[in-house]
Symmetry: C5
Subunit: 353 residues, 5 copies
């Protein structure tokens, strides 16, 4: 019930910018992990307290501070104070019921976005709000719960694969968002191939199928709603006045923007595919109802008149001349067969079977 | 009947700008409440006459004049004269059948907007026009009837919570509009969760459900119509040339603009969800009709031919040889069972059950 | 038949700008009325000939020349010559089958618009093309037929109510167009409240209702088509380069533009409301068909097997042992009741009633 | 089959700009007609060869060269060489399967457009590509086949009616295109009035009507597809940088642009009207099916139980006590009548008739 | 299953810009063909290794390097190094699951586009990604598999037909893309004519037809999805700042852009045509169901009451007076005929047949 819109009830009447966590607590204590690296060196550590982590950050190098679990307002407050981020920005990070958004502060650029998880067993999509704050050479990522799509990026940093160690923090930011969008495509492909697999079942419609079709439509609608706002995020980010992106990273973000378009187009294609399948399903149901009706009509139209004829000669009238003719019974059979054959020919002519 | 469009009949032919109240009178005497505050001090009073209230306003401090009940034209006229607001602007405030709008005068900025109330007992939405006029450090809010969503804001002023006491009047204006939009989201969530709850009932459709689905569609349509124009209000306000917004408040209004987008998107999502539910409902009705038809066809197709056979041997022909064979009756049963079993196999093969 | 598109047949092949009246003649002789007024004085007269009327116009004051009936080409030609209006502009005024349009000439600004009349007895909308030409302090209004929505404006001029006598001709133009748009809203409200009243009848659908719903849809479509182009008129007029509008009147026309938006939105709302009602109607028809089918199936499925059983014992076989058992008849009743009760329980379980 | 998209097969692989005729040859030898005129004089002649025609053109006067039949590539080539028109432009003129388009060359402006012909006997629309090339004071018009809508224009030139003889070649171009658009409106009116006439037949739906409705929808779709691109033609032409239009003609083309909008809006209105009629048709079919079902259900539900009762007393059990009571037969009738009346009351209560 | 979205799974987590082939390997060893030409000379050769091919390129002349088969990453890497193309651009070429795109690098312009192949036997569309990289006077084309639409262009180069040998590399690029778009139109025409041919079959709907209609809808949807992004490609290419197009070629690309619009419009027309056919199919199915129902109702309504009457006189009551009247049997026939004729007249009156 909470999937399409997260409850804002508890924030009702609170002052804007007062830090309030909106969402479900998924972890007992926030997990704080820090990467500090440059071309030569790399430092990776998990901290128990935010104060220690903040102290460890080295402004000369690129830092990536990842926080799993948003319920501890204190962590947020300290980060805000340390880097002079406005409470409004942090409040957005804490409110997990938001659309994907991009906004800037005097010191920081913030991207709110969504990771999408697909549970193949239940055919169920869920999303997690992941926020990125870029402050000079520091990227802070906030996640609702432990577990993410970033492990391959961590490996690339650790093992110095690709350009990541030799690039700036904006490239790291790009890599992180890119891995989320990549994941959209993987999930779209997964759900899409399942939708495409339903195609052959449409010719033999049953109720379970109709429920499944509408279930997929709901999931795809949820997916669309989740990823659509990212288009606007990319546009705003690329049009931003505060040149926080290097020319080089700009090319990567342009690339990413095209990938977002590609994802949205792909999900839209599956949306209309599942809509068409529902229509075909309904057409087939109508066809089948029509077939059932034809069977009924053929049987009823043939046998009801015959039964009537038999009924006539089942009456007990004293004066019923035909009863006494020798061949009446066989004549009756002849009439009945003629009627039946005539009807069958009529139905044949009208291509009922 | 009056919900989707308020009657303008009584204004027909009146000169533009002549102050005429359009709406329903909800209170006997307008209730006039004034807050005057700054960082240090706070003054709160309810006045019997508008003249006293106007006299009490202190241009050095921030004032919030709230008027419940719009039917007293005199109040409007005096406010207009005091602050030199054009009659056209005031006429708009008095006409409660308007869309949300933003417009500026030489001295004042006016926001017409709507508060939405949801009555959970009757599943019924209603709206109230709330207008805000900003003149330098004064915010005047006009409400159609007593009772509003502003009580938490009054508490924040009284108890100096958050930034409100240390900010300017434009921040107060932001806070007031924000509380209305927040309320949209709360109501959308309420109505949305009810719509989501209908999902399981769709597999067993009945007429009460179809009426409920269309009822929700009507309510959501009303909601959409009510909040959609607010998008344009935000755009016009943020593009306004007359820098009445401080840079700081601008950030808050930008935030608010995103919240309005979020609300519109959320209501659109529920709109399409309820439309999909109606489609699923119809599909299930068709499925069920098909099932009913199958039951009928199976019974009729099996028993009508059998009855016919029995009818044949119920005839009273004198010469009906089969009647006199010893095992005729049992042969007839055998034939009948064969027919019935043949039909059942045919239906089974066609997956009718 | 002529409502959605007026016949242009008679103009086929005519040179552009040759004055040709397209429409239906509604009055024998054009009625020519002139108002001349300023703050101090007012002059009102009906003229027999256009020459006299044109002579009476006083360039120092504001003049309003109203002409009912467009079939007299001579009147148009003389006006065109007097004020040097291009034949193209006048040709547009004469062609009553146009969309609402705004265009400018070197001397004049022309607004073609539509008055809408609603006949509540027949639920029928009709429209009349009303054109306004503004030349300095002169407004000329052309109407297709006598009778209009302008009487309250004439009274305001006569009795010096509101700002009209102390404003310029552009304000008069605003007032006239405003009265037409006001009338749209009144008619939308009328037709809309009728549509809203149909709601309760939907739960008991009959054929008269379906015809009524589609009738309303046609009327609302006609209404939409009629008022939609006015949006473009307002945009073009407000963006016009030839500052023919005073700053003051500009504010009024902006207001009017919002009113036009409001009207279009209102008619769109009723359009989608009536579309939804048609859908609900169809859903209810399906529901009802389903109910009818259930009644049939219940009766047929119960009684056809029972009749079959009775038929068995109505056969006249010589050797039919059950016929001779003493309690056979009562056993048959027992079997029949068991079958019937079994079927009813099955239907009950499947929630057929 | 070739109506919605003309075959391009024979051009496959040809170099762009190589002159290739795409279409159906409608005339044996191209018909070449030339008008040369100015205010004072007029010269009109039909030529056998394009060379003679090209020699006859007088650069001091306005010339209109009309060519019926495009299959003679030689004619095109010579015109192209004479006026230095790019092969690409001429290739477009020869390819009759194009959308309406406007493009410019260093010397010439080309408008590709469509004449629409309506065959009322078969309710069939067809289109012909008509291209206009404007080179200084020369207009060349290319038609696919003999017969056009331009005869009234020729008469206006011959008899010096209207402004045509005293205007430039761009006015001639306007007049020609205008006559095509005028013709769209005449055809829309023709087809539209037929669609409006179908309205009363909808209350008594039959299969011929459904085929007719879908036939009209196809024709209107073809019409839309044909005239829609003309909107873009007008926009491009009016925004053209190469001031080939005089200020005066510009006003006429603006007028024409509005007429194109009007046509598109009109055809869209009829498109949605015919769509609504199809929906109403389907609703009425459902209503009727429902009525048929009710008749069936009423008859079956009443008589099947009664037949069952009769069947009971048609059995031949030896011990069937009721058979021997004196008034059993009349009691049976009483029971039967009660059942029938009860059922009828039930159906009446449920408003089945 | 892979048609609508190509699998990206194997790229998950890879660093952006690392060259990874996404697609199906269609050829064992990439086929490398090179054309070098100018006005005077022409050189054409197939190479075994990319190194030799790269060495053979003559910067003074126009070169066209065509590579069939993308799975050999080494080929890509060497090309990238030779011409200093960014890995990001080359990665896009290798990922065959992309939308059509246009992007620029410091040295090169890249167009990703799709060739469409139509298999008439299976009514099946497939697409192949074809990428073009333009670097000064060199065009590199990358194809997924051998076999293409470029053979006529090769002939034009070999035999010096048209402008190709005397134009620059941008003209070659235009010719290549143009041949793909031309092919779209040919395929649209093919599939479109098949859709148009279905029209007459709609009046006699069967299940095979409904499956065929939805099959065509799926194919057309796939086609639309494939060619739609090309519109954006043309827009970006024509708006590109890096004047890589000569003024002359610009005209050709403008032409091409119009052709793309034409293709999209054509496919959209067939999309809505097939949608309309599906609707007509459904309407005809309903009509037919209605006819079947009528036949059933007519038979049942006539014969069920008659059978009831016969049933009455088949009862074995001892005291059943009518049985003993001499003409009872004939009276019964009279009553039955009256009932039957009455019913038939009623159905006739209601136009059931």
């Amino acid at each position: 019930m909470a999937r399409f819109l997260k409850s804002r009830k508890k924030v009702k009447g609170a002052a804007p910018g007062s830090l309030i966590f909106v969402g479900k607590q998924n972890i007992e204590v926030p997990r704080i992990r820090l990467f500090i690296y440059d071309r030569q060196s790399i430092f990776e550590k998990e901290f128990q307290s935010i104060d220690q982590a903040l102290k460890a950050i080295d402004a000369q190098k690129i830092s990536w501070l990842n926080i799993d679990g948003l319920h501890d307002i204190d962590v947020m407050r300290k980060i805000g104070e340390q880097f002079d981020i406005s409470p409004l920005a942090l409040d957005n990070v804490l409110n997990t019921g938001q659309r994907s958004r991009y906004f800037e502060d005097k010191n920081s650029s913030t991207i709110l976005t969504k990771a999408v998880y697909y549970d193949p067993a239940n055919n169920h999509l869920s999303s997690e709000q992941i926020s990125f704050v870029l402050i000079n050479q520091l990227v802070i990522s906030f996640q609702e719960k432990p577990g993410d799509h970033f492990e391959p990026i961590r490996d690339r940093i650790r093992n110095n694969i690709g350009r990541i160690r030799s690039s700036q923090a904006d490239y790291l930011l790009y890599t992180l968002v890119d891995s989320l969008v990549d994941n959209y495509l993987i999930n779209i492909e997964e759900i899409g191939s399942r939708v495409e697999e339903l195609e052959p079942r449409l010719s033999d419609p049953d109720k379970a199928l109709s429920n499944m079709l509408f279930h997929y439509k709901t999931e795809i609608t949820f997916f669309r709603k989740t990823i659509r706002p990212l288009k606007e995020v990319m546009t705003r980010l690329l049009r931003s006045q505060t040149n926080f992106l290097s020319t080089e990273s700009r090319a990567y973000f342009l690339e990413l923007s095209d990938l977002v378009d590609h994802s949205i187009e792909a999900i839209d294609t599956y949306f209309s595919m599942v809509s068409d399948q529902i229509n075909l399903y309904n057409t087939n149901i109508s066809n089948r109802a029509n077939d059932v009706m034809k069977v009924l009509t053929i049987f009823a139209s043939i046998f009801i008149p015959l039964t009537f004829i038999a009924g006539i000669y089942g009456t007990n009238f004293e004066y019923l001349p035909e009863l006494h003719f020798r061949y009446s019974y066989f004549v009756m059979w002849g009439v009945m067969l003629s009627v039946a054959i005539g009807m069958l020919l009529y139905f044949k002519k009208n291509r009922w079977f």
